[in-house]
Symmetry: C2
Subunit: 310 residues, 2 copies
């Protein structure tokens, strides 16, 4: 599972910091969180096909989070997409998409659903579960909590071989959790050849928000918290005025929630480097980092941070 | 006067070819023709401030020509623009802009006018004149003919000095076209110290269009024709089907209109290089070229092609 930070800028995009978009890639599928102007180009730069996107989650309707959507949909259509797509977002998202498609004469031939979300849960059985939590922003906005389903324990082929279990139906029954009897009459329990279930990662995407104690509760033990860090402590007053967070405030949420990693995004273009943000956050929560555009974070099944590539 | 080819791609933007946008820069001001997704980033890459844009001309409402507009307007607002701005485009442009601004909660504090154009002329006294010509496309679309006002003849200070005309009101009257009498009683006509008027450049922007004989008439003797060249001759049938032009068809218009230069843009992403387009066009009209994203064409007052920089 990989997290692609496609755009980490806030408000005004720049050459080095595109408007917000984060892609979660797993088993050949992509979940996209926010879709600022230029997201389709950032996907190309990352080598990700837009056709792999199955769901898009829009945190709120400020332009920098949503203006890449009509172009992305138009490109999907031109590339003759057939796979269905669902877009989730706050009330207004339907009107935004439908009006833009109509005014730009864009027709989508693929199955396409728009779901205006409320506080609550969206369930995708067998894949993942996404919960919507109202964020604290100046227009209706949501944070999203993504819980991936658990990953089955590792099947140890060498152990199975040693116990005289040939590949085929017997191994499959073990993987399905059943105790089996070998041709030699030996009873084998699944735990003898299969490792423990690996907990699915939890990724929390704050969207634009002032520090939200409810998010700290929902993000409990998350693998990764991707949090608004528009300002550094020197502009704490601005964070309060515009209902954003400072890097330190994001770190406080991360610390309270005991998450494993904190990614600081949506950094205002007024800051040339991310150094101050990282420094201020790490004083509170050491495992914090501010990704650059196109950075990739790999999360392995044991939920450990593996690599950050530029 | 400089022409910035900000985006030369057609349909689907790529890493190397942004969606259509062309900036005409003169005397510190910018006229923008089309505004595809990512135009604000291309402006930044070219070192052009969006605050210098005074007028925007949208050829038609296909997404690749217009989806950069809401983000550009939002950025102008965030940069606290005060200067007025006018946007011209086909019917629907008002609804497109107003709906996007409303749904993305964007408020513009600067003077801002939207003018839905018809076949006819828009006049800007003392600056330039833009004529709108209906294009031949599958939705309402326009070509734009930009005629810059003439530039006054060069004032030869050395000649004035030789004729005993001091700097000040007498020189000013000559520049205004009046014959004057020097302190020594000598009558001097303007033509004795001022060179001939330099004709203002004419730039023609076709937008998306099938070959249009009316455009060839309107583009007569233009300094630069920027023309749809979506396809090469091998896909002439596609050009016909989708109401676009081939590079050769663009060259035929350029040849008929006896323009000075032809720029081939809106090239389909199916072509990796522009070589075939340039070759096919030059067989008909030698002074043709296919600019890359961010190429700049400088037009000097004598309407000669000066430089193409990458």
């Amino acid at each position: 599972m990989k997290v692609y930070f496609l755009g980490v800028g806030g408000g005004i995009p720049s050459q080095n910091r595109a408007s917000p978009a984060t892609a979660i890639y797993f088993r050949g599928k992509i979940l996209l969180f926010d879709c600022g102007e230029g997201t389709q180009i950032q996907l190309k730069r990352s080598g990700l096909s837009p056709q792999r996107i199955i769901d898009i989650f829009i945190s709120h309707l400020h332009g920098d989070h949503v203006l890449g959507l009509p172009g992305l949909l138009s490109t999907m259509a031109m590339l003759q997409r057939t796979k269905p797509l669902t877009i989730y977002g706050p009330p207004g998202i339907r009107s935004f998409i439908e009006t833009n498609l109509e005014l730009t004469h864009t027709q989508l031939e693929f199955d396409f659903a728009i779901k205006e979300v409320e506080k609550g849960t969206i369930t995708h059985p067998n894949q993942y579960r996404v919960e919507c939590l109202p964020a604290l922003h100046n227009i209706p906005a949501f944070s999203y909590i993504l819980r991936m389903t658990d990953i089955p324990g590792k099947f140890y082929v060498s152990k199975a071989r040693r116990l005289g279990i040939p590949s085929g139906p017997l191994r499959k029954r073990l993987q399905q959790g059943h105790t089996i009897t070998t041709a030699g009459g030996k009873r084998v329990k699944p735990s003898e050849v299969i490792g423990p279930i690996r907990k699915g990662p939890i990724i929390v995407y704050s969207g634009d928000t002032a520090p939200n104690p409810k998010l700290a509760t929902k993000a409990k033990n998350a693998t990764l918290l991707i949090h608004d860090a528009t300002f550094s402590e020197g502009h704490k007053d601005k964070a309060k005025e515009f209902l954003h967070s400072t890097a330190a405030q994001a770190a406080q949420i991360a610390s309270k929630a005991k998450v494993e990693q904190l990614a600081l995004i949506h950094i205002s273009p007024r800051y040339v480097s991310f150094e101050t943000h990282e420094k201020e956050a790490r004083e509170i929560f050491p495992n914090a980092f501010a990704p650059n555009d196109l950075d990739v974070l790999e999360l392995n099944p044991s939920r450990k941070f593996l690599a950050r590539s530029c």
